[in-house]
Amino acid sequence: MKKHIYDRLVRSGRLRRRDMLKGMGATGALAAFSGVATGTSVRPAWAAAHGALRAEILGIPGVGAGSPTDADWQQVGELCLGPTKEIVAEGEFAGVELTFMGLNNQNLHNFLFRGFLKPWEAYTGATINWIDLAQADYNARLQQSIATGTVDFDIIEMGAPFEGDVLGRGMASEMPDWVKDVIDMDDYVDYLKAPVGTWDGKTYRVSIDGDTHTFAYRKDYYENEEFAEAWAASGGEGAWEQPKTWEQVNAHSKFLIGKTDPLTGLDAHGYLDPLKGWGGFGFYFLENRATPYAKHPDDPAWLFDPETMAPRVNNPGFVQAIQDVLDLIDAGAYPADQINADPGTTAFQQFLAGTGGMLNWWGDVGSSARTSDTSVVGDVVGFDINPGSEKVWNSQTGEWEMTPNVSPNNAYIGWGVYVMATVDGDAQKKKAAWSAAAHLGGKDLSLWASAYPSGFQPYRNSHFQYDEWEAAGYDRAFVEDYLSSNADSYNHPNAAVEPRIPGIFQYYSVAEDELAKGFAGQYGSAQEIADAIAAAWENITDQIGRENQIALYKASLGM
């Protein structure tokens, strides 16, 4: 679980120690009677023990009993060693030394891994050296390692967007079959299943996280009778209620111009588009608007043509998304200085502080709504998946189809653990590295990581069993509201999953530069902006190598 979510739950007072203890008892009872939900009904006795294990680890240290410490991480790691012990004999990796490269964000990530793996080291006899990186240093460190061929680590924590850079160059070790059995990959939410984590049909990734953009909106705007009456009086189409399409989002945003925010008494605003770049990450937010227009259900590709790598960013779907933003700029629908607002600003300085009625973001907005001292929207925020559209562009036929379309944007895909090919020459080291990775991506351990501060979101279907959360002491209504928007995005059949090709953030970065010029009025039309992005993307593709990119793009799409 992201730390914000945990803090929010604890601070909101919805968790009490007593509730938690009651919950633990209930979970134990639940586990004793049923293993169906966790897919363990085949072995009832084991299922009971397994269910009890899940309940036991969820009680370490106990939801609401303070932040977990290294001792807790080690205890969880110890309790979840079962699958390792089935595969690895005690002391089997004595003398093996591995190096693990990962993040140190918020003192999570690698710090947890150390604790989880300490009992694993004690049991197997292997030792692990750690390379801790700040998020800002991660990309540069990885790219330099790749470019200079100095891979000085055996295991890496890595986001799926980098798979093209690493897997595409054959730098990772293929996952052995026994690991697939240990980590139960069938339990992954749909979008994390192949082709994500695979390359040319081979599997490389142990998922430990999921990422998606979800839609957050102000419920008080839609419960406001004055707004409803004014909307009806203005001839607004449909009822004054939460928008489900981008057409509605845009119409509501224009309608709200000149209105007063019912919560803050300041100017009301509609959807908050970040109009400034954010090191490439800002492009995800145009994608949110574009995916329903441009991600056709029959076509896995949506950013590039997989046969030619011709950008689709200048097709009518993306142009429509850009045009929608330009229309809102022209209408004066955004707060002043929006041209200087990056995604961080829209989320934390605007939406949570009571400016704006809607935005798309990762899970942090939901979790910060009540925990952040500067947030005023905690009680009036609702969540849903990315809005859809009333039409979708079909790149195959080159025509608009006037059929509704929905396509959540699973931006950044999520963190995973990968083993580098450097271990392939040493069978013992390879087994040790994969055993460590499998331990971190284990089904039970990941449940604990999704329920406590870890830096990771739930990413398995078994993580969305709300009974387990409720039994552990969480407030069911909140958990269901918040997590279901994630689960529905992950498992959507037309979810947009970004291409895992080399240099994907280069494409995003240059697009941000062109969009910034376009939003500042330096291009004549949305089409011109889109064409400029497409031209820049063509240059990047040529520079990195078109044939290679085509092959890797196809591989990333599983074609």
Binding site: G277, P335, D337, I339, N340, A353, A520
Partner: protein, 368 residues
């Protein structure tokens, strides 16, 4: 021992034998040959022309150190005590060569290469392609244009700094306090200034400056929405940080002016303004030029405030060359092109500063 020559500085006068000279020259040229050979082998290995493989270029470093050591020893062998004297400066020179000249040569090699870190082909020489790309790159030219605006703003900064320096040089109350207080902004990191001023005080809803602007009648204050205003705000934040730097240099200059000169002007009936314009200001010109020159060099490196506050926007209005190169490098891993832009910028700076200094020299020391 010789009784002739520079007896004050020479302790011993060595008689260098022909054999010793040969040994010295052999040391120099032999080690130089070894170094060249190592470079050639490494180059051929890199190009795949020979079967040998090296994991790193570290042998080249060792070869350079070997040559440098032999060169130093050879100075003594060849020139005796005169050679020992050169050892006071030679190692430092060789160190500078290693740290500046070599990297510059490598940078030139990279600048004329197509090197995107995501490309599986690695670095490839591409002639003048990067120059052609630069020539047609509107982002780079826009950033250069902005640098002209930013640099011109130094004139205003100079005027303010001079005014402050004059105030602090006069007999005012709490002079020491104000000297320290005025210096404080210089002690702040530009990154801190970006967040404290750019992101907090100028925040359009809650920032105190925004509240003040609203109180003054500006309904929807926007400090970074309009290109001209945004550029002016960046200039002001940068100026706020660095005016104290110019001020302290000018203050030092003012304090160095002999009081008698100004007193003589007053005795001759010069008014306050004429005393300043015809006595103080001309005397301050050398310090002023130095302060402006150093400030220009600082200004040309402007990036942190821009990266943090506007990312170059709106629409490139506040972009600087350094912040653009930062995006090319960090966000787009475009090492070859980014390096070329940096080299070209370096050349432009060297040329501009040289011309500036020549003009100043001609202006201050007219040759009639």
């Amino acid at each position: 021992m010789s009784t002739q020559g520079d007896l004050l500085h020479v302790v011993t006068s060595d008689a260098i034998s022909p054999e010793r000279r040969r040994l010295g020259k052999t040391l120099i040229w032999g080690s130089f040959g070894v170094m060249v050979a190592v470079f050639v082998v490494l180059g051929l290995s890199e190009a795949g022309r020979i079967g040998m493989e090296f994991a790193t270029w570290r042998p080249a470093l060792y070869a350079y150190l070997f040559w440098a050591t032999c060169l130093c020893i050879a100075q003594v062998v060849l020139y005796g005590e005169q050679g020992k004297r050169s050892l006071f400066i030679l190692p430092a020179t060789l160190f500078v060569v290693a740290m500046v000249v070599f990297p510059l040569i490598f940078a030139l090699g990279i600048a004329f290469s197509n090197w995107n870190l995501s490309s599986p082909d690695g670095r490839q020489f591409n002639g003048l392609d990067n120059v052609r790309q630069m020539w047609g790159d509107p982002f780079y030219w826009n950033a250069l244009k902005n640098m002209v605006y930013y640099t011109l703003a130094i004139l205003v900064e100079y005027a303010i700094a001079f005014g402050l320096a004059l105030i602090l040089a006069s007999q005012i109350k709490a002079r020491k306090f104000f000297r320290v207080a005025f210096l404080m902004p210089l002690m702040l990191s530009p990154v801190a200034v970006s967040w404290m001023v750019g992101k907090s005080m100028l925040e359009i809803r809650f920032g105190p400056i925004s509240r003040l602007a609203r109180w003054l009648g500006w309904d929807r204050p926007s400090f970074f929405g309009d290109p001209e205003i945004a550029r002016a705000m960046i200039m002001m934040m940068d100026a706020w940080t660095f005016i104290p730097f110019m001020m302290i240099m000018l203050l030092a200059g003012l304090q160095a002016i002999p009081k008698e000169v100004q007193e003589a002007a007053r005795v001759d009936g010069a008014s306050g303004w004429r005393g300043f314009w015809e006595v103080t200001f001309p005397l301050m010109l050398p310090v002023s030029i130095t302060a402006i020159l150093i400030r220009i060099i600082f200004k040309l490196k402007l990036a942190d405030v821009v990266i943090n506050v506007t990312s170059g926007g709106p629409g490139g209005a506040t972009d600087t060359v350094t912040s653009f190169i930062f995006r090319e490098y960090r966000d787009r891993s475009n090492v070859g092109y980014g390096t070329l832009l940096a080299i070209v910028y370096l050349l432009l700076i060297v040329i501009a500063i040289t011309v500036f200094m020549k003009l100043v020299d001609r202006w201050m020391n007219p040759r009639y």
